[in-house]
């Protein structure tokens, strides 16, 4: 009864199997007609539009859900996405700017066949705004707060008409509902009743040009064309969103034909891909400024001359030219591109290291000082951060980089800089000029807002509040620009570069539009 030895057998089997697999099958994957596979830098979180905040998530939910108003993302050559009727065919704003009466679009159904009407709108508003309603969902309320905090009341006039009363006039209110951090898009009430507030994230039912098919967490999220869509129907049969965290893998997947589109390609690989025949798509007005906060509570930064000197010491043009190349533009203000208030010609501080050194000396720091610069793991990236560190070193400022893992960094950034921290950074912006309120008002100082550097200038707050209540966009623009000038004169922030949102596309992709927004309308796209 000697032992039957399986080892030699095992070896033969394993080698045999391995060889059988490697025989060459040269053709790249067969391409289903009209399917776009998009390689994204990270997995998206829950697909409940009311309860999510990530840009990458809106890149999917924008295809499934729609709001009463909508941004037209099919135009790339406009300074800001035009505001167009969505599920509301039309709306009127009362002269005092307090009442918005929406005429709903008739004949629209949700993907689950249930009708879209005033009752559905009421259900959605109760979900993210009305604490007294059984449909109230606290998580949604906390995400949609920027939009919902202006609502005083809401009433259904008839099955196809709804009126919303604001607490105060805010002519950016509609636009604020189409930004990140909680979008009040219309979710099918029947689906919420069927799957519950948490379950809706797994069964997203909206009215958009694409319908949800399935999601494999970390693998793919599949949408298909909605044949009954009320507007221009999508051309693609299906869209597949694939998280590919590693930049090298994203590039290789594109080259190997496993994806037809990737976002955030590594800057240094773009030229190589273009040479290989892939198309680079960018937009000059994407609302995305990479900027630094200076900690106004730190003594060194209380002196405006020091803040100005820091602004002068950093070579924005050099960073845009050498690192971002054709996918970045130097930025000198804090008004977000992609809005009608943005002025591309705005200038604040020229790159002048010698003048900066003089200013530091004048302010009492002839041989510079030490400053701690907190950065996130997935921020602008080491290339930019070390460039800034070198530029400041040249003028005597010794920068210590402290990198934090993303979630930890978010907590520290949202919570406001500690006393020992001099600077931190973020890449942000919105297609509404009102964004500047969130980051630069006295009353939005962290931890109650994203003014992480505790900048406070009463005059700026007054101008911004007035701008919100100015109906005429041109007049509002003048106010925002005046505020922007004051902020940059105070030099409380150090804007660096606008990211032009580079997207690499396979030559097989047609009709893709890169709009002045952080997500895209895929219904115009087709793949041969």
């Amino acid at each position: 009864m000697g032992h039957r030895m399986a080892v030699p057998l095992l070896i033969r089997v394993a080698i045999g199997a391995a060889l059988a697999i490697i025989q060459p099958t040269a053709t790249p994957q067969a391409q289903a007609a009209g399917t776009l596979i998009w390689g994204m830098p990270s997995e998206t979180d829950t697909m409940d539009p009311h309860a999510t905040g990530g840009w990458t998530t809106y890149q999917i939910t924008y295809q499934i859900f729609e709001g009463l108003a909508k941004e037209d993302l099919t135009k790339g050559d406009v300074p800001t996405p035009p505001l167009v009727p969505g599920l509301a065919a039309s709306w009127e704003i009362s002269p005092d700017g307090l009442q918005y009466t929406f005429k709903l679009r008739p004949g629209v159904t949700f993907h689950d066949g249930t009708p879209f009407d005033a009752a559905a709108v009421k259900f959605n508003f109760e979900r993210f705004w009305d604490k007294s309603s059984p449909n109230y969902y606290p998580k949604a309320a906390s995400f949609v707060v920027a939009y919902a905090k202006w609502i005083k009341g809401m009433e259904v006039l008839d099955p196809m008409t709804v009126r919303v009363i604001l607490t105060a006039p805010n002519y950016e209110w509609l636009r604020q509902g189409l930004q990140s951090y909680g979008q009040p898009l219309m979710v099918s009430p029947a689906a919420v009743k069927a799957y519950g507030n948490e379950g809706i994230a797994l069964h997203p039912i909206g009215t958009g040009p694409f319908r949800f098919v399935e999601r494999q967490q970390g693998v793919r999220t599949v949408l298909e064309r909605n044949p009954d869509y009320w507007g221009r129907k999508a051309q693609l049969d299906r869209v597949i969103f694939r998280p590919l965290q590693d930049p090298a893998t994203r590039v290789n997947a594109l080259s190997n034909g496993e994806v037809q589109m990737i976002s955030t390609p590594p800057w240094d690989e773009i030229q190589g891909l273009v040479d290989d025949g892939f198309k680079l798509s960018t937009n000059p007005n994407v609302p995305y400024i990479n900027y630094l906060y200076l900690n106004m509570k730190q003594d060194v930064f209380k002196d405006v001359r020091v803040r100005r000197a820091v602004n002068m010491a950093i070579d924005r043009e050099g960073i845009a030219r050498e690192i971002y190349r054709k996918t970045g533009r130097p930025e000198f203000g804090l008004l977000s591109p992609g809005t009608d208030a943005y002025d591309p010609g705005f200038r604040s501080y020229k790159y002048d290291p010698d003048a900066a050194k003089k200013l530091f000396a004048e302010a009492g720091y002839p041989n510079g000082f030490k400053v701690v610069f907190e950065i996130p793991q997935v921020g602008t990236g080491e290339l930019v951060e070390s460039w800034i560190q070198r530029d400041l070193k040249k003028v005597g400022i010794d920068v210590e980089l402290r990198k934090f893992e993303w979630v930890t960094y978010m907590g520290r950034w949202a919570g406001g800089m500690g006393q020992d921290i001099g600077m931190n950074e973020i890449g942000w912006g919105m297609s509404t000029p009102a964004w500047i309120n969130i980051v630069a008002r006295c009353d939005t100082m962290a931890p109650d807002g994203q003014n992480s550097g505790y900048y406070c200038n009463k005059e700026v707050d007054a101008l911004l509040s007035q701008a919100l209540t100015t109906r005429d966009p041109a007049a509002a623009k003048a106010l925002y620009q005046k505020a922007n000038r004051i902020i940059m004169d105070d030099a409380a922030y150090v804007p660096i570069v606008d990211d032009l949102q580079p997207i690499m596309l396979s030559p097989k992709v047609h009709g893709f539009v890169n709009p002045p927004e952080d997500w895209f309308d895929l219904s115009t796209v087709s793949v041969d």
Binding site: P247, G318, L401, R402, K403, E405
Partner: protein, 308 residues
């Protein structure tokens, strides 16, 4: 990659090996470190020489490196090796590769050596205690080691990076913590084997106290296999450290180490292969050198295994 073969440090003699592959215990007599034998083993000798050179270069980085490792020249990004003034070319930010390799060596060698030394000391202490005390102490220590043993290495590193901050100390601590059970188990097995040898009973009969027994008799028996195992581990830990840098948990800019250089350069492998290939080769060479050094040490300390 997990450190290997607890049993690798040779397999015990005689029938009492408990099947888990106790380490080779040199016979009680003739344990002198035979420099001659070691020198004759050409591979080990070459490896030792190479490592001394590498360590020297890293230590003398300030003198040897032609440029400041953080000095970037934007006009010279991705310059291939052999470009004027830059023997090994430049990296993504136009920094001199040779200088970064030299300075990076300091961090990588620390990431390789410090955890192995600390883990060996702790592991030895725990192993000796568990091996000689036996009973409850042995069980408790072994179960504690099992807890850390069952923890996937990478998870521990990520969690520690979350608690502390990504950086060299995160790497060092995570690698140390993960290594302790491997060394601890090896030390315990070695202790059990040495403790059961006749010369220990003879010493006990001659009235040696427990601590004397432990220090003068058991430890010298346990040290050689541990030393051999530790040497091979250093190389492996440098490779593991490079993995942590790849996940962004390692050393933070502007400082760098070989692993971070490999993972940074990796993104543009096609366009500028030298950026990732050069540090890659250094890691492989140093890691190989430590393995050969380990083999050489094992043969020198345990003449019986030279026959094979």
């Amino acid at each position: 990659m997990v450190p290997p073969d607890t049993a690798h440090a040779g397999v015990g003699e005689g029938e009492r090996s408990d099947g888990v592959g106790a380490p080779a215990i040199p016979p009680a007599s003739g344990r002198r470190w035979r420099i001659a034998a070691f020198a004759r083993d050409r591979a080990a000798f070459a490896a030792a020489l190479f490592l001394v050179l590498v360590a020297g270069a890293a230590l003398l980085a300030p003198l040897l490196s032609p440029y400041d490792p953080a000095a970037a020249d934007n006009l010279l990004r991705y310059a291939p090796p052999g470009t004027a003034g830059h023997l090994l070319g430049t990296d993504a930010q136009g920094r001199d590769m040779l200088s970064r390799l030299l300075w990076g060596g300091r961090v990588s060698l620390v990431v390789g050596i410090v955890p192995v030394m600390v883990a060996s000391a702790t592991g030895l202490a725990l192993g000796l205690l568990a091996g000689t005390a036996g009973g409850w102490t042995d069980q408790v220590i072994m179960r504690l080691l099992d807890v850390v043993f069952a923890f996937p290495m990478v998870l521990l590193a990520i969690a520690i990076a979350g608690v502390l901050r990504p950086g060299v100390w995160t790497e060092v601590i995570s690698i140390t913590v993960v290594l302790i059970p491997y060394v601890g188990r090896l030390a315990r097995t070695a202790t059990l084997l040495v403790a059961s040898m006749p010369f220990i009973e003879a010493a006990r009969a001659a009235g040696a106290t427990r601590t004397a027994l432990l220090l003068r008799y058991v430890t010298p028996g346990v040290l050689p296999p541990l030393l051999v195992y530790a040497t091979t581990l250093v190389g492996l830990m440098i490779v593991v450290g490079s993995g942590l840098s790849f996940l962004g948990l390692g050393v933070q800019p502007p400082a760098s180490d070989w692993g971070a250089m490999v993972s940074e350069g990796r993104i543009v492998l096609r366009r500028a292969p030298h950026a990732t290939v050069l540090p890659g080769i250094v890691i492989v060479a140093v890691s190989l050198a430590f393995s050969f050094l380990g083999d050489g040490l094992r043969d020198a300390l345990d003449p019986r295994s030279r026959r094979r």
